[in-house]
Amino acid sequence: MSEAAPDRIHVSLCSDPRYLPLVRALAQQGAELAGFGDEARDTLLLAVSEAVSNVIRHAYRDRHDQPVDIDLRARPGWVQVEVVDRGRFVDPSQIQSRPLDEIRPGGLGVHLMRATMDSVEYRKNDFGGTTLTLVKRAAPPALA
């Protein structure tokens, strides 16, 4: 039997940091659809919020009137989120996370995404911007 199609939610918004709570509400919805526990839910909210913050900061250089598209797909135990911008393509090598033993502000967002998601992939999209795809899977249940 083929797997059921995932639930899908698409949201378009402006690159305004005021909308970050809305972005996290979307991630929260995805986590609920996937049946995630607290930790998987919290890390998904964090990673999606960091992803959109990076779009605002790096792709749009803090312009707040630019388009951001978020496409979320969820099925039990699995969520995929695509964040699509039309700004400056951000070479992933330029936003590598900093070494954690170097205590300074900044550079943590990419580290947090990579540390908490099962997959983090950047690619240049047809708009000349970046499509970032995050995948989170629920942790397998602990063995009795």
Partner: protein
């Protein structure tokens, strides 16, 4: 996000409520800087009512920690939820900050 500041002797206590992200962290930074200019110590940031904090919030706290260290003051955090504790652990910051259970502990 709401921030309430109180003072107790040389201490400055910031009670933060809500979500600390790229939009709201500049306000936290501004208010902390005022206490840092006064060389308050300890500077206590009570995160009991903080439901979410992102890397910009962490960056704000790291800046404040570095600034207090420069004048020989102390920055203490308290009231971290499980979710916020996990964020500090993931960021390798647990051993960098002085983290207490409550604001009363942070003022001792």
């Amino acid at each position: 996000m709401k921030i309430n500041r109180t003072s107790q002797g040389t201490a400055a206590i910031f009670t933060v409520e809500g979500q600390v992200d790229m939009h709201t962290s500049p306000d936290l930074r501004t208010q902390l800087r005022a206490a840092l200019q006064e060389k308050a110590t300890p500077v206590v940031v009570d995160l009991t009512a903080v439901a979410f904090i992102d890397s910009s919030g962490l960056a704000t706290l790291i800046e404040a920690l570095q600034a207090t260290n420069k004048y020989g003051g102390r920055l203490r955090l308290c009231g971290l939820s499980t979710s916020v504790q996990n964020l500090f652990r993931l960021s390798n910051l647990t051993s960098i900050f002085d983290i207490r259970a409550t604001s009363a502990d942070a003022l001792k």
